[in-house]
């Protein structure tokens, strides 16, 4: 479980942990039912307050990405997220919106963007477990 926190990014550390764990799960580098590092171990590894790690795990659990077994640890949950379809769409829309604005600034056309998304989607589909 290789996470990196960047400073000066303006993104609070717990949100960085959340997005990176989602990334690891989505790309298949963390498998269903695989155990995550214990909070204290990850805190020492990342040099971060253990409560921050606990918060990230808690929010990922609420959102359905992880589950905990009492006294045993935290594990990757199976399948879909626990968000409603509507919430999911809303969140994705917001991100797509930000992406479109940025792409327009950089003179990247929508067609080009779609192509890029398709390519990256195919790469994810393969599940780069080795990397």
């Amino acid at each position: 479980m290789n996470l990196h926190l960047t400073q000066h990014s303006g993104v609070p550390p717990y949100l960085q942990i959340i997005s990176q764990i989602k990334q690891l799960i989505a790309s298949g580098r963390l498998n269903v039912d695989q155990e995550l590092l214990p909070i204290r171990v990850l805190a020492e590894k990342l040099l971060i307050n253990p409560n921050t790690v606990a918060r990230a795990y808690r929010e990922l659990e609420t959102a359905g990405w992880l589950y905990t077994k009492r006294g045993a640890g935290t594990f990757v949950a199976a399948g879909t997220t626990a968000f409603s379809a509507e919430t999911c769409r809303k969140q994705i829309r917001e991100r797509v919106c930000a992406l479109l604005v940025e792409a327009a600034h950089m003179n990247i056309s929508v067609a080009e963007l779609i192509k890029l998304i398709r390519e990256m989607g195919n790469d994810l589909g393969k599940g780069d477990k080795e990397s």
């Binding site: 000066h8 303006g10 609070p12 020492e44 040099l47 918060r55």
Partner: protein
């Protein structure tokens, strides 16, 4: 430890004057057991003065200071033996070797753990046979850090420990902070200018300005409630009347508001007043600090 309270440090209404200047103004601070407590503020804001009261180096002029339930001025031995302390410029006996220095320090602390001390030196890649004089600034700081931990203090006090240190030495300081709270639920008081580090390791943030507490809240709240709002609105904006807004700048027909508030409630209120919200952006601790610091330097009202 007083069983009725779970605060390692309990400071109430502490005021301190040097000549005519108020260094601390009615400061109330409680540090609960098991927390990493961060203190930030500009130079001369009162951080070190507060720490010196905790160490019993200053007597409270007004108000009270209690550490582990005791007055550190009346019970220096009992209090200091349970504290580990590292300052920005530790005063080392430079002619000693590291081993001699650690022996010397051990004499002050009944709980000194020689085995643990050796382990800490090893983790910090320090050769105990070397003279302190021969060490780099970063290595000296590491020696100070080992000495501050070897008696497994209930409270680790770090007063700008990272100032002027290389990234490796700074990392070790952060590691010591995390180790302290992770393994034995002990407490840390960290005063620092390196806000990214404070953001990373602290549970609670105390923001000092001119000897006064400007903000004291959980790090979670500090990061979740500091926002910059960009809005458009015709006419004047009486931003001082808005809850949680502590600074505002008019910019080409747009307003930048800096706030510490529930962002949904505040934007709702602004919209009711006819404002068009263009953007809301979360502030990092660094940005919040700068926005709050400049608040004191801008005139009260901006046209």
């Amino acid at each position: 430890m007083n069983s009725t309270d779970n605060n390692v440090v309990d400071i109430r209404h502490l005021t301190r004057r040097f000549n005519d200047k108020a260094a601390l103004q009615d400061v109330t601070v409680r540090i609960p057991r098991g927390q990493v407590f961060g203190i930030v503020g500009e130079n001369g804001a009162g951080k070190t003065t507060l720490i010196k009261h905790i160490l019993g180096l200053y007597r409270a002029q007004h108000g009270s200071v209690s550490v582990f339930g005791m007055d550190p001025v009346k019970h220096p031995k009992e209090v200091l033996s349970r504290i580990g302390y590292l300052s920005e410029q530790p005063d080392f006996p430079e002619w000693m070797t590291i081993a001699q220095f650690m022996n010397y320090m051990a004499a002050f602390y009944p709980n000194w753990d020689r085995q643990y001390a050796a382990q800490l030196l090893e983790m910090a890649s320090l050769d105990a046979r070397k003279k302190i004089r021969e060490l780099s600034k970063g290595q000296q700081a590491r020696v100070g850090l080992c000495a501050a931990q070897a008696h497994r203090p209930e409270l680790l006090v770090l007063d700008e420990p990272s100032s002027g240190l290389d990234p490796v030495a700074r990392r070790e300081i952060l590691a010591a902070v995390i180790r302290t709270v992770v393994h034995e639920g002990r407490s840390v008081l960290l005063s620092s200018h390196l806000l990214e580090e404070v953001e990373r390791v602290c549970d609670h943030l105390l923001f000092f300005s001119n000897g006064e507490v400007l903000l004291s809240d959980s790090m979670e709240a500090v990061l979740d409630r500091h926002y910059q709002i960009t809005l458009r609105r015709p006419g004047q904006l009486e931003w001082q009347a808005l809850p949680g807004v502590f600074n505002a700048v008019a910019d080409n027909g747009e307003w930048q508001l800096f706030c510490f508030a529930d962002i949904d409630q505040l934007t709702g209120l602004l919209q009711l007043q006819g404002a068009q919200i263009l953007d809301t952006r979360r502030l990092s601790l660094n940005e919040a600090f700068l926005a709050r610091s400049s608040q004191r330097h801008t005139p009260g009202r901006i046209a």
